[in-house]
C-alpha cells in the first residue's frame, strides 16, 4: 500500500491483512509499555480542515504509540480552501519533511488530489473527505465486528455470512460508503435502512439491499450488527424528514427495537452520537453497544495502517543489497 484513500478498490487479502496486523497492534496495547519504537524518526502530519475529536486523537495516539513525531494542523477558521492553497499547504508539509499526511477535508476527493498531484512524496491517509469515504473508520468497524463475532480466533478471517444493517443518514455519510465497500468485500451482507430522502441517488447500483422501514428490516434480516449513523445536521440544507421527533420514532434505535434485536447482536455507532435522535441513551449504553470498543480499536487499526504505509522500502536506495542478505540470514 502506498496511500489509503478509500476502501473501494481494496483487495480482500489486503483488507484482511490490515485487520490481522491490527490484532497484533491491539496485543501490544495490553502491555505495560505500550510504545513501540517502530516509526522512530518518521513525521506524521494531521491535516484537519474539518472538525474532529476521535479521529484526530486516535491518529495522534496511534502515531505516538509507534514513536513517530506528530504535527497537528487544524485549518479551522483559516481561509484555506481547495486548489492552489491546498497545494501550498502540501508543499509546506513536504518542506518540513512529512512522511505521512493524515487529511480530513470537507471536499470529496481532496486526499486523492493530494496523493496523485505529485506535490508531495508522503503517504496520504484519508481521514474523511466530504461525503466520499472514511476508510479507517470502516476498517475499525470491521475489526470490531470480527472481534465480537470470532474473539481470539479472528486472525485471517473475513465476515462471510454476517448481516449488517446501516441505518440513518446514508446520503451524507462517508462512513456508510466506506463500510459498504469494505463489509461487502469481506463477504458480509449489507442492508441500508433510511427514509427515501436520505438514500443517495446512485445507491441502487451498490452491492447492498435498501429498506425504508427499520422495524420490518430488523424482523426480515435478524442482523448481527446494527450500525446507527449520525444525522449530519451541518450538511443538511433541505428538510429531509418532518421533525427530529418523527425521525427518532421511525428510525431511531430505542429500547423496544433494542430488545427486538436480541442480545447476541451488536449496536455500533461511529460517533459523535446524537443521543435521543438516532440512538437512545439506553441503546448507546447497553452491553451490546460497541461505541467505546470502536474508539479503542480505532487506535490499533490506525497503528496498523501507519505501520503498513510507513515501514518497508519507500524510495530506499543503496541499502537494498545488504538488506536482502540480512533478511535471508535472519530467517
Amino acid at each position: 500500500m502506498r496511500h489509503l484513500l478509500s476502501t473501494r478498490g481494496l483487495a480482500l487479502d489486503e483488507a484482511v491483512h490490515v485487520l490481522d496486523v491490527a490484532e497484533e497492534m491491539a496485543e501490544t496495547q495490553l502491555r505495560e509499555v505500550r510504545k513501540l519504537p517502530t516509526l522512530r524518526g518518521k513525521t506524521v502530519v494531521n491535516l484537519f480542515f474539518e472538525d474532529s475529536t476521535r479521529t484526530r486523537i486516535s491518529f495522534e495516539a496511534a502515531a505516538k504509540r509507534l514513536s513517530a513525531d506528530v504535527i497537528t494542523f487544524s485549518a479551522k477558521g483559516s481561509s484555506v480552501s481547495k486548489g492552489e492553497s491546498l497545494k501550498d499547504t502540501a508543499q509546506t508539509l513536504q518542506a518540513i519533511g512529512a512522511d505521512a499526511i493524515v487529511i480530513r477535508h470537507q471536499a470529496s476527493g481532496a486526499p486523492q488530489v493530494l496523493a496523485t498531484s505529485g506535490w508531495i512524496d508522503a503517504a496520504v491517509l484519508n481521514a474523511g473527505d466530504g461525503t466520499h469515504e472514511h476508510p479507517t473508520q470502516a476498517l475499525l468497524d470491521a475489526f470490531t465486528l470480527r472481534r465480537r463475532l470470532h474473539g481470539a480466533d479472528s486472525r485471517g478471517r473475513d465476515l462471510d455470512g454476517v448481516t449488517v444493517l446501516i441505518v440513518g443518514d446514508i446520503l451524507h455519510s462517508r462512513v456508510a460508503r466506506s463500510n459498504l465497500w469494505l463489509l461487502s468485500l469481506l463477504g458480509a451482507r449489507v442492508v441500508l435502512v433510511a427514509p427515501a430522502t436520505l438514500i443517495p441517488h446512485g445507491a441502487h447500483g451498490w452491492p447492498c439491499e435498501i429498506r425504508h422501514d427499520l422495524d420490518e428490516a430488523l424482523a426480515e434480516f435478524r442482523p448481527d450488527a446494527v450500525m446507527m449513523l449520525r444525522i449530519q445536521a451541518e450538511r443538511m440544507r433541505d428538510a429531509y424528514f418532518p421533525s427530529e421527533r418523527e425521525y427518532a420514532r421511525q428510525w431511531g434505535l430505542d429500547s423496544a427495537r433494542l430488545s427486538a434485536l436480541g442480545s447476541a447482536s451488536i449496536v455500533m455507532h461511529p460517533g459523535p452520537m446524537n443521543r435521543g435522535l438516532e440512538i437512545s441513551a439506553a441503546a448507546a449504553d447497553s452491553p451490546q453497544s460497541t461505541v467505546l470498543e470502536q474508539v479503542a480499536n480505532g487506535v490499533s487499526v490506525r497503528m496498523a495502517v501507519l505501520y503498513l504505509l510507513l515501514s518497508g522500502e519507500r524510495a530506499a536506495g543503496g541499502a537494498g543489497e545488504r538488506a536482502q542478505g540480512e533478511k535471508e540470514a535472519e530467517r
Binding site: E24, E27, T28, Y307, S311, G325, E326, A329, E330, R331
Partner: protein, 167 residues
Amino acid sequence: MSRALTRIAHEILESNHGARDLVVLGIPTRGAVLGARVADAIGRIDPEAAGLAAGTLDVTMYRDDLRRQPTRTPAVTRMPEGGIDGKTVVLVDDVLYSGRTVRAALDALADHGRPAVVRLAVLVDRGHRELPIRADFVGKNMPSSREERINVRVAEIDGTDAVVIES
C-alpha cells in the same frame, strides 16, 4: 535436529540448576516452533518442568531494518502466564547471523518486563556477527560464506526437518 534440541534442553537445565523460574521464548517464525520443542524436551527430562509451555516473542516492530525492506507482517507474541519479571528467559531462534534479530528481541523483551537473566539458544550459528552478541546454547556451528543462505526447515511449517545451505 531433535538430538541437537535435546542437548540444548539438557544444557539449559544444567546452567539454570533445574527448571525453576525458567521461561522459553521462541522468535517467530521458525524459532517459535523450535522454542516449543525445546520446552517439550525440558519437560521430558525434568519432571518438575513437565508441561513447561514456550511463549513467543515477535520482534518485527523493533527491527532496525524496517525501512530497507518490504513491509514485514508482525507475528503473534505470547507471554507465559506468570510473566517474565525476575525469571530466567531463554530466547530461541533458528539461525544466528548478524545478531540484529537478537538485539531487537532484547529491546522487545524490555517492554514486557525485567527478567533476572536472558540467555540465547540457537539451532545454527553461522558466524558473521555485526553486534557484540553470542549464543549461550548452540545446536551446531556452521561456518558459512556471506553469499550462502542457510534455511532451517521444520516439520510444523515446511513438512520436514532440515537445515539447507544454498549458495
